[in-house]
């Protein structure tokens, strides 16, 4: 879906990404993992065109990103960044309707309204649709923003740590919703995530980054190796397989 070619980026004098080459498979759920400062969010923001690369190229379905207009891009790629504090007076429904802006330019037609309803129902937010977003709990608000992203109905979704500050219930809700987007609608999801256990159990593809480079990438089973993850994070890792899922033990004091 989206491929990265010899991509480099630096902030004033400091290199954050150097020579990244990787491909994110179409219709799969990919997780970007790595320590703070490894360049995950920068890579995601470059893919989202929020930043301009210093060198290298990104291609969306074979087409260089730079050839798409802002609007064309927004019709194909939905981006959700870390959630800012929200001080606007908008209802959940109004917020979700923003997701239709790339298609409708603000004039909501029947198809747009259907997409908004669908996104709200998809995340089970129907009972909250008339509520003000600034009065929702943190978890509900993050689900509301995710609903806006889903309403955009793009084949590719980019998410930057959408699980920050969420309780386990809401975190699982979001992971399940994204998993279903891939399975039922063929969406491609790329997500920066810190919780390695959630990544291992919900994603298909993992890209592990270290010091601005791709350290390893591949199917979950290929990357979920104790030694490899230990190198990525600089910790003692013990990857266990239980009941068809993964559990990583990196927190036991030795």
């Amino acid at each position: 879906m989206i491929s990265v070619h010899a991509l480099s980026h630096h902030y004033v004098g400091r290199t954050v990404l150097s020579g990244i080459d990787t491909v994110f498979p179409t219709g799969k759920f990919s997780a970007l993992i790595g320590a703070n400062g490894a360049g995950k969010s920068t890579l995601l923001m470059l893919m989202a065109r929020q930043l301009q690369p210093a060198a290298g190229e990104l291609r969306l379905a074979g087409m260089p990103l730079s050839q798409l207009t802002v609007r064309q891009f927004a019709q194909q790629v939905a981006t959700l960044r870390q959630f800012p504090d929200f001080r606007l007076r908008l209802t959940l429904e109004e917020l979700v309707a923003f997701g239709r802006y790339p298609h409708s330019q603000g004039r909501l037609g029947p198809a747009d309204k259907a997409a908004v309803d669908d996104a709200i129902d998809y995340l089970g937010l129907a009972s909250l649709r008339g509520r003000y977003v600034d009065e929702l709990s943190g978890g509900q608000r993050q689900l509301a923003f995710l609903a806006m992203t889903i309403a955009q109905q793009t084949p590719l979704l980019l998410l930057d740590e959408p699980l920050n500050n969420l309780d386990i219930r809401h975190a699982i809700d979001i992971m399940r919703a994204l998993r279903r987007l891939c399975d039922e609608r063929g969406c491609t999801v790329i997500m920066v995530i810190h919780d390695i256990n959630l990544a291992a159990n919900y994603a298909d593809h993992i890209v592990a980054m270290k010091h601005g480079r791709v350290y390893a990438s591949g199917e979950v089973a290929e990357v979920m190796q104790s030694a490899l993850l230990g190198e990525v994070f600089g910790l003692d890792f013990e990857v266990q397989r239980q009941h068809g899922g993964y559990v990583c033990n990196y927190f036991t004091y030795r």
Binding site: A48, Q50, T79, R89, Y101, Q105, G106, R107
Partner: protein
């Protein structure tokens, strides 16, 4: 604070407008009525300018206590007036009320805004830096204007002093006609683009993700806010922080951040405030004070109440 039916604001607005137009001997007196109609027109234009420029400016800056006044447009106006007096003497003092004076002042303020805007484009400044630049330049121009005023005779000084407050009595029909077309066009254009303004509320990153070219929009809307602020200042004089009050009241009453509600409501509120102040000036204070002073007083009290209560900021 939120009103269930925000359009109810039209009721006191129409009542006050009718009172303003028809009170006293104006009924059947064509001359008096037409004079009042011109003044009402000036209020309407100024109200649109103040409300729309402030709301757009706040949307772009993501800050609810700013108005375009921080960019130094009003200081540029003040400096222009002072310089006119310095160069033209008494003639320069007479000028400002006339259409020629309006155009001269408008050109002067727009020139300043254009220079600032070019700076924004070329130096690729961040918005905060741009605001700071405007603030500093505004202070510099204020100081120069004060300096220039020392050269004025006491009579000229009194007139200059009067020009630092907004008033509708010095607006001429001709100046009003010049201002009407651009203000009407700007208002229409903004209302048509209300959905885009809503998206801009979400901030740079989210707006970009929704397919809005943020930098281009920012330049465009800042320019429009500057034009509106310049027209308003040149027409009726500085309005200082009235825009902040009107915008915040509109957000509170609308109970929504959406521009489809806040822009018309803000304009209506501004007109209401102007009408109220003008009526008070004419019938209660008998021209011993000016609209500008009253408006500033009302706004000041409201803002203080807002800060002290620490809620109701919608």
């Amino acid at each position: 604070m939120r009103w269930r039916y925000p359009w109810l604001i039209l009721l006191p607005l129409l009542l006050l407008a009718a009172l303003f137009l028809l009170q006293g001997p104006a009924w059947g007196n064509g001359y008096l009525l037409s004079r009042r109609l011109w003044r009402l027109g000036a209020m309407l234009l100024a109200a649109l300018c103040v409300a729309l420029s402030s709301i757009v400016f706040q949307t772009l800056s993501g800050n609810r206590v700013l108005s375009p006044a921080v960019m130094g447009y009003e200081a540029a106006y003040g400096l222009g007036q002072a310089l006119m007096v310095l160069v033209g003497g008494a003639l320069g003092v007479v000028q400002p009320g006339m259409a020629g004076g309006f155009l001269l002042s408008l050109g002067w303020v727009l020139g300043y805004a254009w220079l600032l805007q070019r700076w924004l484009g070329r130096a690729s400044l961040r918005l905060e830096q741009y605001l700071l630049l405007g603030l500093v330049l505004g202070m510099v121009m204020d100081t120069f204007a004060q300096f220039a005023r020392f050269g004025a005779s006491p009579g000229e000084f009194a007139v200059l002093q009067g020009l630092t407050y907004s008033s509708f009595n010095r607006v001429t029909p001709q100046a009003l006609l010049y201002a009407a077309a651009p203000v009407a066009l700007a208002a229409l254009w903004l209302y048509r683009r209300r959905a885009e303004l809503d998206v801009l509320l979400l901030g740079r990153e989210q707006a970009t993700a929704l397919g809005v070219d943020y930098l281009r929009c920012q330049r465009r809307y800042l320019a429009l806010a500057a034009v509106l602020a310049a027209i308003c200042t040149s027409l009726v004089g500085p309005t200082a922080f009235m825009g902040v009050l009107v915008a915040n009241l509109a957000y509170a009453i609308a109970g929504s951040s959406r521009h489809t509600l806040t822009m018309p409501l803000g304009s209506a509120l501004a007109l209401l405030l102007f009408l109220l102040a003008q009526w008070l000036v004419e019938h209660v204070f008998n021209y011993r004070t000016t609209v500008g002073i009253l408006v500033n007083l009302l706004c000041g009290v409201y803002l203080l109440a807002l800060l002290l209560r620490r809620k109701g900021f919608a």
